[in-house]
């Protein structure tokens, strides 16, 4: 009886999968999430306590404190059995410990590069490269800012040839869709040819 109950419940519960949207402060992460999400982007607080901060890169000082990090996220229902969440990762460096938990189990990541200050996405690129999380770089083209070519961005970020680079406008859903599709295709390729 109990197992019947759980099987019926299982039919009603979709499983979730997540994609991270990373990039420097103000790069357009929340804008991208909002443009593709079926719900208005939500914000949740993660309180990091001593116990949950047992990850690397932490100095002993920080480990004794409690830190609150706000996370934006949106939702895309894929089908009855699958729901995709997009998480904007906290941009500031002091929240890097948060990335460890966020990156765990992520399908992949979009690194949003800000054309006004390309260098602000270096830490994100480093992070995903080191963790082996598949990612694409999406260059959010702000008006009035210098327009880079894909090649210039690739060179500036020292990206491996296999990492896709796209130009985008984070405010436009079609543009963001193209970015997400490129990421999922890249994930599929990464699985076919392990690095």
């Amino acid at each position: 009886m109990a197992s019947n109950d759980s099987e019926r419940a299982d039919d009603r519960i979709p499983a979730a999968i997540k994609i991270l949207i990373a990039g420097g402060f103000g790069a357009g992460k929340t804008t991208l999430v909002g443009a593709v999400s079926e719900i208005a982007p939500l914000s949740t607080e993660e309180v990091m306590t001593e116990a949950s901060m047992g990850v690397d890169d932490l100095s002993g000082v920080e480990a004794k404190t409690t830190t609150t990090v706000a996370l934006d996220f949106g939702r895309i229902s894929i089908n009855d059995d699958l729901v995709l969440y997009l998480f904007g990762t906290p941009g500031q460096e002091r929240f890097w410990f948060m990335w460890e938990e966020l990156a765990l189990g992520a399908l992949g990541a979009v690194v949003l590069a800000d054309t006004r200050r390309l260098e602000t996405c270096f830490p994100s690129v480093d992070f995903f490269e080191r963790r082996g999380v598949p990612f694409v770089v999406a260059v959010n083209c702000f008006e009035g800012a210098h327009h880079y070519t894909e090649g210039e961005v690739r060179e500036a970020l020292s990206l491996a040839d296999r990492v896709p680079v796209l130009l985008c406008d984070a405010r436009r859903r079609e543009s963001d869709k193209a970015v997400l599709l490129a990421l999922v295709r890249h994930v599929a390729e990464s699985m076919a040819t392990p690095v």
Binding site: I17, F73, R173
Partner: protein, 124 residues
């Protein structure tokens, strides 16, 4: 359909015939349930003895009439994820809520899942 079930998070948790992401009717206390930020939760039954619950837990049960992630519950209640996990863990332990662990790339995501994600994004 059924091969997706192998992609549950807790691959090392239980015997081969127990689908680990369905945590139900368990004896485990809240802290024994490993909830992720994107574990999806849903209310397990319609009738609830509200007197036996914290006010926040009653609100969680109302929210959970529709399946949603722990992160969504947290955002809607304006309660930190860590706190929501404890409240939900208790509800799961008492059989009020069912949870499903997320897909994770620790166990490789199947082609079918990737294709479904592609199709879903394309439909937007």
């Amino acid at each position: 359909m059924s091969e997706q079930h192998d992609l549950g998070l807790d691959s090392d948790a239980t015997g081969p015939l127990v689908r680990p992401y369905v945590m139900t009717q368990g004896r485990q206390r809240g802290d024994a349930v490993q909830l992720d930020m994107i574990s999806v939760v849903i209310a397990a039954r319609a009738e609830v003895d509200e007197m036996a619950l914290e006010p926040e837990q009653v609100r969680i049960l109302q929210l959970c009439r529709r399946a949603q992630s722990v992160a969504e519950v947290s955002a809607h209640l304006d309660v930190p994820v860590a706190v929501v996990k404890v409240l939900l863990g208790d509800l799961i332990g008492r059989g009020y809520v069912l949870a499903r662990a997320p897909y994770t790339t620790q166990s490789p995501v199947s082609r079918d899942i990737l294709q479904a994600v592609l199709d879903g994004i394309q439909r937007l």
